[in-house]
């Protein structure tokens, strides 16, 4: 298992390099000019200087290499510096200055390092997306179990219908719909997510809770629909197996048979689906963040795209790719761990 994990980890390096190359070439092929917004009165030689300052004068492979160095070599150094200088956990270590005077990936919009902005925006996205995923899973698994156990019952039919509907309604429709109902007509929930809100007592926690309900539920609906379908399918496959009959024949209680024997075996495919679905929900978060005005990384990507801020777009897209590769890896490893029949080595 360990060799398999290491091999998979090593394999993900060329994958990530390939992905970064694809994104980079896509951005290079794109005809958008970062100098397009510069006023026409600026003389051409000044423009040329500005281009060079942005690193645009050099050949493509050198630009790509520089980006790679900045992301994989300099950014970790910045992170180590941050840990030893300012973080609470490691500040007892001697202060380091690995990254001093080195160039980082700079955003063309704000002229500040891209990673700093990403780290500011990350918590909002992680809170909304992570919570939505957990809520979705917590709702989906019992629904899946019960509709498989009572196959073709009214609950199963209704559950199948609801998951089908949840599957089909896009988040950019459920979002406005919920806003109209709960913010406009009923006035219960705020329609805009306030990211500057600080939680320090019960009242502010309540405000935070209220403003998270809608974005989280919109994202959770998609997850619930998908995972409960998988859960139901996996349970149905297992309920007809011989070992279930054996367990019943031994005189085990029905709850033990279903909740221990069948559930454990059905969780194997579901856990991998949960891991594999994680990147998709980050993608879905782009739309949900746009609907509820959450300023997370999805919203950051959209504004960067509109402003033609190529370093920001490149880095953000790459972060999404890292997430996908990482969760694919987790899914593979979990599959091996949970199912002793499948060991890849």
């Amino acid at each position: 298992m360990l060799t398999f994990t290491i091999r998979r980890l090593l394999l993900s390096i060329p994958t990530l390099l390939f992905i970064s190359l694809v994104i980079f070439l896509l951005l290079q092929l794109a005809p958008g000019d970062p100098m397009a917004q510069v006023p026409l009165t600026v003389p051409p030689e000044v423009k040329e200087k500005m281009r060079e300052a942005l690193g645009l004068g050099q050949p493509i492979h050198i630009q790509y290499w520089k980006w790679l160095v900045q992301v994989f070599w300099i950014e970790p150094q910045v992170f180590i510096d941050y840990l030893t200088n300012r973080s609470a956990l490691f500040s007892w270590l001697p202060d380091t200055a690995f990254s001093e005077g080195k160039l980082r990936v700079i955003s063309w919009q704000t002229r500040s390092p891209v990673m700093d902005i990403v780290i500011q925006r990350m918590p909002q996205t992680l809170w909304v997306v992570g919570l939505a995923y957990i809520v979705g899973i917590v709702i989906a698994i019992p629904i899946g179990i019960y509709s498989a156990y009572r196959h073709y019952s009214v609950f199963d039919q209704a559950g199948t219908f609801v998951t089908m509907v949840g599957f089909s309604i896009p988040p950019f429709f459920t979002g406005p719909l919920l806003i109209v109902i709960f913010s406009v007509y009923l006035g219960w929930l705020p329609s805009i997510y306030d990211t500057t809100h600080v939680v320090n007592d019960w009242a502010s926690f309540k405000v935070q809770f209220m403003q998270m309900i809608m974005p989280v539920m919109v994202l959770a609906l998609q997850t619930t629909a998908q995972i409960s379908r998988y859960m139901r399918g996996a349970m149905l496959d297992n309920l007809n197996q011989d070992y279930v009959r054996t367990a019943r024949a031994k005189g085990l209680k029905e709850s033990v048979v279903v909740m221990v024997h069948v559930l454990r075996n059905s969780m194997i495919p579901v856990v991998t689906v949960i891991a594999l679905g994680m990147p998709a929900i980050f993608g879905g978060a782009i739309i949900t963040e746009n609907v509820f005005k959450v300023n997370g990384i999805g919203q950051l990507l959209l504004t960067a795209l509109r402003a033609n801020d190529l370093p920001m777009v490149m880095t953000l897209t790459f972060i999404f790719a890292v997430l996908i590769v990482l969760f694919n890896l987790i899914a593979d490893i979990l599959y091996g761990l949970l199912d002793p029949r499948i060991r890849y080595d």
Binding site: L26, P31, M164, S168, I169, P170, V184, N290, V313, I324
Partner: protein
């Protein structure tokens, strides 16, 4: 060694058996496979609804603009902000009438005409992108399943594409390549080509994997061996023997592809990176109406319901097709 006892008259004994084996009633006429599929499909109420709704909406958006022939882009500022006709039921003074059954928007464009025209765009993008993705996916799946030399590299390639972040990349491609294609093929045509190709290039992978798996299993069967041994060329084997046998997984993934293509196109329009702003699509209508949804909730609801119902219908159709095309479930 003892000799087997030979019956006195074997012919008589055989006749005895044959009588017992003979059918009592007249034989049923043979049924074709597609007849069975249709019978199973008919049992699935949701699939039947989905299929007929999909046909209805496709016909409506194809022929609707000829019957309701108001131009969807025509501005009529004097008659702006009409409400749908059903508002008259509870509010007699509402600005509504049969000239604009679903009302008009803030620039006086007829909403029914916009819905029909926008649906035409959304459905066209959906069908085209789905067809392209199927062709690419099937080709790659067949090639890598049938030819061992290509298998490794094609599948690595598929895995790589699968680990690309799709929505960010689609957004990227559409924003970056929109301008040059627009100048080449006109504002609408260029965007149509771009969106269709971007969606299809990012959604063929599942089809390829499923087709490859099925081809790998089919390739080892006796009928392929037979075909090979009478000298059938690989091209003929693929066309005559393999493709007809993988048609059912292809059809199921076609429905999934159609649903994702419609949703992706609407999402792009919703985020404001799709078609030009005066060109109605369901996603764009929805996005435009969000700002004033307190006063005119119907403008959000109508396109939203249209998208959702179409996708729901397609998903149900896929569900029914999967059951109907699976010979293990059929006949149960």
């Amino acid at each position: 060694m003892t000799e087997q006892p030979i019956p006195a008259s074997p012919v008589e004994a055989d006749l005895e058996f044959m009588k017992a084996l003979q059918d009592k009633g007249p034989q049923k006429p043979p049924r074709s496979q597609w007849r069975d599929v249709w019978d199973q499909f008919r049992k699935h109420k949701g699939a039947l609804f989905g299929g007929s709704f999909l046909i209805f909406i496709t016909l409506a958006v194809i022929f609707g603009p000829y019957i309701w022939d108001i131009d969807a882009k025509k501005l009529d500022i004097r008659n702006k902000d009409w409400r749908p006709i059903y508002t008259l039921l509870w509010d007699g003074d509402a600005k509504a009438g049969w000239i604009h059954p679903l009302g008009t928007d803030q620039l006086g464009r007829d909403i029914l005409a916009q819905m029909l025209f926008g649906g035409r765009v959304s459905m066209a993008v959906g069908w085209m992108a789905m067809a392209l993705a199927l062709i690419i996916g099937t080709a790659i799946g067949v090639l890598s399943g049938f030819f061992k030399r290509m298998d490794f590299w094609l599948m690595r390639f598929t895995d790589l594409i699968l680990s690309l972040p799709i929505l960010p990349l689609v957004l990227l491609a559409v924003t970056l390549f929109g301008q040059p294609l627009r100048s080449q093929f006109g504002p609408e045509g260029g965007m149509f080509i771009l969106i269709v190709s971007v969606i299809s290039l990012t959604s063929w992978m599942q089809t390829a994997r499923i087709v490859r798996g099925d081809i790998l299993a089919l390739k080892e069967r006796e009928f392929i061996l037979a075909a090979r041994s009478i000298g059938t060329t690989p091209g003929k084997i693929i066309r005559r023997h393999l493709l007809p046998n993988v048609i059912s997984p292809i059809m199921v993934s076609a429905t999934l592809g159609l649903a994702t293509a419609i949703i992706t196109e609407s999402a792009l329009s919703f985020l404001g990176v799709g078609f030009p702003s005066d060109f109605p699509t369901w996603g764009k209508q929805l996005a435009d109406a969000v700002d004033r949804m307190q006063e005119f909730p119907e403008r959000v609801m109508l396109p939203g319901i249209a998208i959702s119902l179409t996708v729901l219908a397609v998903n149900y159709l896929g569900d029914g097709l999967r059951d109907a095309l699976d010979p293990r479930i059929r006949g149960r």
